[in-house]
């Protein structure tokens, strides 16, 4: 695990149809400490995915710098694990093979990497599903696989782009609770992107409110852990924090 520093990051897209430039991210600076869980929240179209894709190295940035453990990001790499909204599991690989994929690319032997994969699957109670194909799983199960697939590769930073946006509300709450539990156990550095204010406050140590490609404000979340929806649903502090973030995001 390493820290992540973003300095004056910006991104200007060229729209070939309109023939104009669109600036999706303006001058964003951010420091994420090692082992911290940071949520970036904002309405759709505010540049969240663009920021995450730049950190992941999927798209080049047009200004500023991104440093992971002090080293500048050049393209995608195994030091930054990614969890996708669309799960992006390999349909032709079983659940076990999906989770073992990262270690396999590192050249870990088959026996060894399957042991690792089994450990991580047990973490999300998917031991039974190891031999199945992704298409045979529910959305919630698929995203559990997506999360542990990224974790099993032991990245320095875990990047998550609205990972729970396409599962139903009940499953989402379970997944959120599981994620906080896993985070406490493994303590990875996480950047979690969402448009859901309650989700951001529930998960993060810190919430960054984003609007129109700019950082509005950072709010630290001092709620105790472990966190559960049962406890937090009626928690005054949780409500207060969520209310503040919501106001920020809506006012901009």
């Amino acid at each position: 695990m390493k820290d992540l520093t973003i300095r004056n990051l910006s991104k200007t897209y060229f729209d070939p149809y309109a023939g104009t430039n669109v600036t999706a991210v303006h001058d964003v600076s951010l420091k994420v400490e090692q082992g911290e869980f940071v949520c970036i929240v904002g309405p759709s179209g505010c540049g969240k995915t663009t920021i995450l894709n730049m950190i992941a190295g999927f798209i080049p940035h047009t200004g500023g710098e991104i440093l992971v453990g002090g080293r500048p990001v050049k393209g995608p790499g195994a030091d930054r694990g990614v969890v996708f909204q669309s799960f992006a599991l390999f349909p032709w690989r079983t659940v076990l093979e999906n989770v073992a994929f990262g270690p396999k690319m590192r050249g870990v032997r088959k026996v060894e990497r399957e042991k690792i994969a089994h450990e991580y699957l047990a973490l999300v109670k998917l031991t039974e599903a190891a031999g199945r194909y992704p298409a045979e799983l529910s959305g919630g199960m698929q995203q559990r696989v997506g999360v542990v697939r990224a974790l099993a590769n032991e990245p320095d930073v875990l990047l998550m782009d609205e990972p729970f946006a396409s599962v139903d509300a009940q499953t989402r709450m379970t997944l959120q609770e599981e994620l906080t539990r896993i985070w406490q156990e493994k303590r990875p550095t996480v950047i979690f992107i969402t448009h859901d204010v309650a989700e951001a406050v529930f998960l993060g140590n810190r919430v960054i409110a984003l609007s129109k490609g700019r950082v509005l404000e950072e709010i630290s979340v001092d709620l105790p852990r472990p966190r559960s929806w049962d406890a937090l649903n009626d928690d005054a502090r949780f409500k207060e924090l969520s209310g503040r973030v919501l106001q920020l995001v809506r006012s901009a």
Binding site: W92, G102, R149
Partner: protein, 269 residues
């Protein structure tokens, strides 16, 4: 009467449910029966339309003399060799075209140009170049098989979601590994579709080529039979073509499709 028919129908349904192979033969029974009745009624002269039994007898004697097995083998070997090269050249070319915009710009017009010429249209010049041999036949089959394989491979490569490439990259896969782990399996269902089309065209091209330039093979058998006026053998050739294609498709291609695209949930069943 109606009751009896319903009962009989129910019986048939249960039978085919238990033995699926009967299900694939069953549709042919009325066709053969109709054929048999037409020939028994002598609507057409026997020389023009022989009955099923005569075809079976002719099959027996051609197998006995060894002509049919030899011809069959020739046809199948030609198809296999042609298909092998069609795949071996078509898949890499399709992947190159699917991945590289530059390759597409450079090669796409050529591809369409040559696709338009058509397989059989090459025969005159191929016969001058290579004579009446295996080379000519192989080239025609490769030519037929390769276009559907290439075009479908391109489609498969390009329709693989970019997030799968990204997922592999951020799990540490090199470009070569991505080719093997993402590009190829992602395109596989389309490749099989291309192969299916390619083989069915290739099969037709083979018969046409054998009729024109062949010295053996099922196509040649039929052409030879026409010369000697043996309608029985022509019919036999046609039936063998149908059966052989059915076997290739349902015993080789369909199982590959079931084991890949369908299993992975990429193709709806």
């Amino acid at each position: 009467m109606k009751q009896f028919l319903l009962k009989f129908w129910g019986h048939c349904v249960r039978l085919t449910a238990r033995w699926p192979s009967i299900g694939s033969i069953a549709p042919f029974i009325p066709v053969i029966a109709a054929w048999w009745i037409v020939t028994e009624l002598q609507i057409f002269p026997r020389v023009f339309l022989p009955g099923p039994m005569e075809v079976v007898r002719s099959f027996g004697s051609l197998v006995y003399t060894g002509i049919l097995p030899a011809y069959l083998q020739d046809s199948i070997v030609r198809l296999a060799v042609g298909t092998f090269w069609g795949i071996a050249l078509g898949i890499p070319l399709g992947i190159l075209l699917g991945l590289s915009q530059r390759a597409r710009t450079a090669l796409w017009p050529l591809l369409l140009f040559f696709q338009a010429i058509g397989d059989i249209a090459w025969l005159p010049i191929l016969v001058i170049w290579f004579g009446y041999g295996l080379t000519t036949i192989t080239v025609v089959i490769v030519y037929t098989v390769i276009f559907p394989v290439v075009l479908n491979t391109v489609l498969g490569v390009r329709s693989t979601p970019i997030t799968l490439h990204r997922a592999a990259q951020s799990l540490g896969a090199s470009r070569i590994r991505i080719l093997w782990e993402v590009v190829l399996p992602g395109a596989l269902p389309n490749i099989v579709t291309g192969l299916r089309n390619g083989l069915s065209y290739g099969w037709r091209a083979l018969i046409a080529t054998e009729i024109i330039v062949g010295t053996s093979g099922i196509g040649f058998l039929m052409f030879d039979a026409r010369r000697s006026g043996s309608v029985v053998e022509i019919l036999l050739g046609m039936i063998i073509l149908g059966i052989l294609w059915y076997i290739v498709d349902s015993w080789i291609l369909a199982p590959i499709e079931r084991a890949t695209g369908q299993r992975w949930g990429l193709v709806t069943r």
